[in-house]
Symmetry: C2
Subunit: 184 residues, 2 copies
């Protein structure tokens, strides 16, 4: 059982999802390709952490919809009791930032302008998602879902995503102010 497996169980603890849906939903928290997810799901099924049901579809290909078992929930509970391992961030832009002065300011600027675009797209998505979650959870303006609410987890995560995104936009904007506008 690796972290990815717990990621799948976590998502399944909130709703029934196909491998494909799990892959899409997991991206913001623990990026993984379908080639990693499908074999893992079949392992989890063998270990009776999850079960699946074949769901036939007419407009789309048939799918396997997975459900977490009691054993799976127990695994999650046990895993939650041990401290989380240190976060790992790998960002090429950070290495490039370190040796910026080897190239033209125009080239440096490009790196941060395109990253800024990337974060702006993310920001918009997160803002849409957070209003969606708050609407679904049915809390009033300014309120937060309760500890028992199944929406609390998603709300906490989206808040982190939003905060980090804003900080990164701030950083990129600041860097663009530091890099001279033209090759002087």
């Amino acid at each position: 059982m690796n972290t990815l497996a717990y990621g799948l169980l976590s998502l399944l603890s909130h709703s029934h999802l196909s491998g494909y849906d799990l892959m899409l939903k997991l991206q913001p928290f623990w990026p993984a390709k379908h080639s990693q997810i499908y074999p893992l799901l079949s392992n989890l099924e063998k270990e009776e952490q999850v079960t699946f049901e074949l769901v036939a579809q007419t407009d789309k290909p048939d799918k396997k919809v997975y459900t977490i078992t009691e054993k799976g929930i127990d695994s999650l509970r046990e895993w939650l009791s041990v401290p989380a391992s240190d976060p790992v961030l790998r960002d090429e832009l950070m290495i490039k930032a370190y040796c910026l002065s080897f190239v033209d300011p125009a080239i440096s600027r490009k790196l941060f302008v395109s990253r800024l675009e990337y974060y702006h797209i993310k920001l918009q998505r997160y803002e849409e998602k957070i209003t969606h979650i708050l609407k679904k959870s049915g809390v009033n303006e300014g309120e937060i879902p309760s500890y028992q609410s199944p929406y609390l987890g998603a709300y906490i995560l989206l808040n982190k995503a939003l905060m980090s995104c804003k900080t990164n936009i701030e950083w990129c904007t600041w860097v663009l102010k530091v890099i001279p506008a033209d090759n002087e």
Copy 2:
């Protein structure tokens, strides 16, 4: 040539370092173990991107001090001209946050309290480093190293690290306010 290789070249573009030092210095930007770095350095040496010199030490084991070549600098310049790939963050705590409600609030709180400690230690280190860098670069109060300054890269990176760290502390603190203090 993968990102790790460029990470090593980036560090070597600013100073002469041993494999061990490279490993330590690289951690905040592109975490890697020594088992990954030593073979890579010997490849880079074969490709004439770096050279090394055996340096004998009396109090510590002897070491190989690496130097970047002109070819290595050219590789860096070329690499800087292509856009940076998307950043990858993997954080177990985010997955745990998603299914928080399956365990006692006390257990949930522990996760965030220990993470908060982790970030506070990081914050202190980054603050020490940034004052150190600014002192070395010789800029005046409130000023920023110039584009040509070899300290600009480190200053930009430390600012990002500091900003992110503060945001994460803010997030953890907020989460701890959301999780009820006792099992009610």
